[in-house]
Amino acid sequence: MINLSIVDIKELTKIINNKIILEDITLRIDGNTVILGRNGAGKSTLLKCIAGIYKAESGSVRVFDKDPYTSKEVREHIGYMPDYYSLYDDLSVTDNLNFFRSLYKESLEDKQIRSIIEKLELNKYLNLKVGQLSRGTKQKASFIRAIQIKPKLMLLDEPTAFLDPISANTLRDIIDSYCRANRSTYIYVTQRVEEVSLMDADIVVIENGRVKRRVKREDLSRSLEDSFDIRLAKPISDNLIVTLKKADYIEHIKKISDRVIRVKLSSYKSIKRLIGLIVDNNYVISSISSIYDLLDDSDE
């Protein structure tokens, strides 16, 4: 029996304006995946190829065993959220959502969409024109636009770039619970390494248009079971240390310097809760050591 991948990319090369953006990419995606890379690495271009927006100059891109560029049947099942909000400024949020929803055969039920709207606190903006909204609110609306069509595959290009940490957490939770409930898959593009630890997904690191490395979630988790260092954007107060010590999932915590703490968790799965706790205490995480190693210069 042939085991079909959700996304199957073979020797994909993409040239835009005579510049090679993606080169010889071969990649199979069978489950939730975070695509990580620096600015200009080719992450968004890769996502556009999977979304059927760009066609492959050479090589092939198959989604559910069909070419997404030519097959509108495949695009029926792809919920794409670009890095730019891409909604119509002169239309209200509701009009935007209704328009895009009307182009697809399937969609979530009204009450499910309302629930997501409420979780993201978008209710009061529904009748406003998109052009009147802040960047963060536009991004939330853009996310709802993508998820409302009940996609089997969600393609999310830096979906939390303009969100506050709490909203970003809520959005990631919605993605996670939606994919679990609907047996859907997401591909999540980010340049923020700390986001990797927050997603229960495999990791693909892209650099200079090539796949630099692939890390299975389990392998990353194992590395996180050891102690790791968290660097915060501002000096760490004693109150934060006391708060963290109270958390039952932290086995050991030590303040290494003014802005760095070394933490050992009872289970790597608690990393999300730990980050949530730090963020809730109004701290911004600059880096998490063992995850940041993903983007170091050494090849696998």
Binding site: I16, N17, K48, A51, G52, I53, Y54, K55, Y69, K72, E73, R75, E76, I78, Y80, P82, Y84, S86, L87, Y88, D89, D90, L91, D95, F99, F100, S102, L103, Y104, K105, K129, R145
Partner: protein, 258 residues
């Protein structure tokens, strides 16, 4: 008609009508002219007709049982006013057509649009409809208003309804086909240029031939009679099919995003 194309059409129309600054001049100018030009025609007939009529050969051979002024109104309406009223709505709708794809590019909304299950055909038809429907509605309104204004002014001045309704409204049959041809070309151009300004500049060149219609009529190069219209309608229908098919075949959705 494809339902997804209609969804695109409705979305575009909502966008146009979301701003009074866009739709007011687009509608106000043709509607204003549909009042003004018929009055001017009757004014010319009353005060200038004899001197102008003597210089227009067609008028001399027209039905001489009618007063010269009425014959002038008949001639001027069919050969000058009607072609003008055919082209004005096309001009205004071209503003929407030029913005169709170029505007989506500029506002960075094209990316999302081409990621949907819309086919190239649905997308192009939706965009054409968004300009075509307002253009045709406007043509009908302009012809209707100008007809009544002209008849009213004519009866008031000469106690005679100058216009034959059949001659006037048969010209209107050409309006949808002229609109469709111009708009289709502009929409296709809009898909292949970088921005709205570029699309508008090329559009202004494309609609130039239509401006020549009234002049060609005055200079007797073409004559707005029934046989001319039948040939015109057939020619336009064939051209429309060719242009729209060409647009669908050559549509490059990646080009909208790149």
């Amino acid at each position: 008609m494809n339902s997804r194309a209609i969804k695109v059409f409705i979305k575009d129309i909502k966008e146009v009508f979301s701003s009074i600054a866009i739709w007011l001049p687009m509608f106000a100018i043709p509607l204003g002219l549909s009042f003004l030009l018929p009055y001017l025609t009757v004014y010319i007939a009353v005060y200038e007709a004899p001197s102008i009529a003597s210089r227009i050969a067609n008028l001399v051979s027209a039905n001489i049982s009618l007063p010269l002024e009425v014959r002038f109104i008949q001639y001027f309406s069919i050969n000058v006013l009607a072609p003008v009223f055919l082209t004005i709505p096309v001009f205004t709708a071209s503003v929407i057509a030029a913005d169709s794809f170029a505007g989506e590019k500029e506002r960075k909304t094209a990316e999302l649009l081409v990621s949907t299950p819309l086919s190239n055909k649905e997308l192009i038809l939706g965009k054409i409809l968004a300009s075509f429907i307002p253009s045709v509605c406007l043509s009908f309104l302009v012809f209707l208003i100008s007809y009544y204004v002209l008849q009213y002014a004519s009866i008031k001045s000469f106690s005679y309804a100058a216009l034959n309704p059949f001659n006037w409204f048969i010209i209107l049959l050409a309006a949808p086909l002229i609109s469709l041809l111009t708009i289709s070309i502009v929409v296709i151009v809009s898909a292949h240029v970088k921005g709205v300004k570029e699309a508008q500049q090329i559009t202004s060149l494309l609609v130039l031939p239509f401006i020549s219609l009234p002049f060609a009529s005055i200079l007797n190069i073409i004559s707005f009679n029934l046989s001319f219209f039948i040939y015109l309608l057939i020619g336009l229908a064939i051209l429309n099919i060719l242009v729209i098919s060409f647009g669908i075949v050559t549509f490059d959705k990646e080009g909208l995003v790149r």
